[in-house]
């Protein structure tokens, strides 16, 4: 029996990862922002794959949410073998035209939320079997992109968290990596207009948007024994995107 916690699992990449892990027989602790949506996702995955799925809802920017998730994992399974820190939010905005509230929200969810989730899960991971963590960063955090400076900065924080956590937790047997998706066809792209979307595709070597499943496959690989000597890496899943 293997146990995985996935944040932001109601839809998009998180839901795809949760389904892949359940398909492999992992029991799951799922998080979503919206209570009804995550309850529905958890029910569907449990019914389809026959694994135990528990879930909790809340704003990941509030540390109480990841504390509640850790407590749920502890009460149900006593440990975690895999953690996917995926919950995130996206907003585009030119410098000088991004509201303060948007700046605060991007960092609160993408940077602080990731740190809270990882921090509150560490002791559960130390009890796990070959424990591994994957965070969802972004290619924008590495390369930068005009019109998304604050989002990119919040995702650069995820990359820093990943590399530091890998060094700190490696001696305790915990691997920590991240994926850096390019432009993936999820709800997050709704904040881009059509011209922006066409522009991103034009800059992608493979000539299309990615699918959530294609990112999930890389996350599942990084969590697996096949990646047992890989830690501290930010793996691009971007179809050859140049920003």
């Amino acid at each position: 029996m293997s146990v995985a916690l996935v944040t932001g699992a109601s839809r998009g990449i998180g839901r795809a990862v949760a389904s892949r892990l359940a398909e492999q027989g992992h029991h799951l602790v799922l998080h979503g922002h919206d209570p009804e949506r995550i309850a529905a996702t958890a029910g569907e995955i449990a019914a389809k794959f026959g694994v135990t799925v528990v879930h909790a809802a809340g704003d990941i920017a509030d540390p109480a949410t990841s504390k509640a998730l850790a407590r749920l994992a502890f009460d149900t399974f006593k440990r975690l073998d895999a953690l996917v820190v995926n919950a995130g939010t996206h907003a585009a905005g030119m410098l000088g035209m991004t509201p303060d509230a948007t700046v605060e929200r991007l960092f609160a969810v993408n940077a602080a939320g990731a740190a809270y989730t990882l921090q509150n899960s560490v002791r559960l991971l130390t009890r796990g079997q070959r424990p591994a963590v994957v965070l969802t960063a972004s290619i924008t955090g590495d390369q930068g992109v005009a019109g998304q400076a604050v989002y990119a900065a919040s995702k650069a924080a995820v990359a820093g968290l990943t590399r530091s956590a890998a060094k700190e937790l490696g001696p305790r047997g915990i691997r920590v990596n991240a994926v850096a998706p390019g432009f993936i066809a999820t709800d997050m792209l709704d904040t881009l207009d059509e011209a922006g979307r066409a522009d991103r595709i034009a800059h992608t070597a493979l000539g299309r948007l990615g699918a959530a499943d294609e990112v999930a496959d890389v996350i599942v690989f990084l969590l697996s024994e096949q990646a047992r000597f890989v830690t501290g890496q930010i793996i691009g899943v971007d179809g050859g995107l140049t920003l």
Partner: protein, 80 residues
């Protein structure tokens, strides 16, 4: 086993101390074996022993054996 001996045993096991070493006056980082890395192992051992999940703020505040007793009380474990 009553709760106090269980907590003492968790300290000795997690900090790799001799079975007869007194632990009631231990303070974080005053003892060579209770450093920041051992602290995480100690907290995990206490959680396992008493089946509680300790919040980060309490992990940070667990600066002595006496504080561990007080903190466990918050989680409904009466170690006295």
């Amino acid at each position: 086993m009553t709760e106090l001996p269980r907590l003492r045993e968790a300290f000795r096991t997690a900090l790799d101390l001799p079975a007869d070493e007194p632990v009631d006056d231990l303070r974080y980082q005053d003892h060579e074996k209770w450093d920041s890395l051992a602290h995480m192992s100690l907290v995990a051992a206490i959680e396992d022993e008493f089946s509680v999940m300790i919040d980060t703020d309490d992990v940070i505040n667990m600066s002595s054996f006496a504080e561990a007793v007080r903190i466990l009380g918050k989680y409904g474990v009466d170690v006295k």
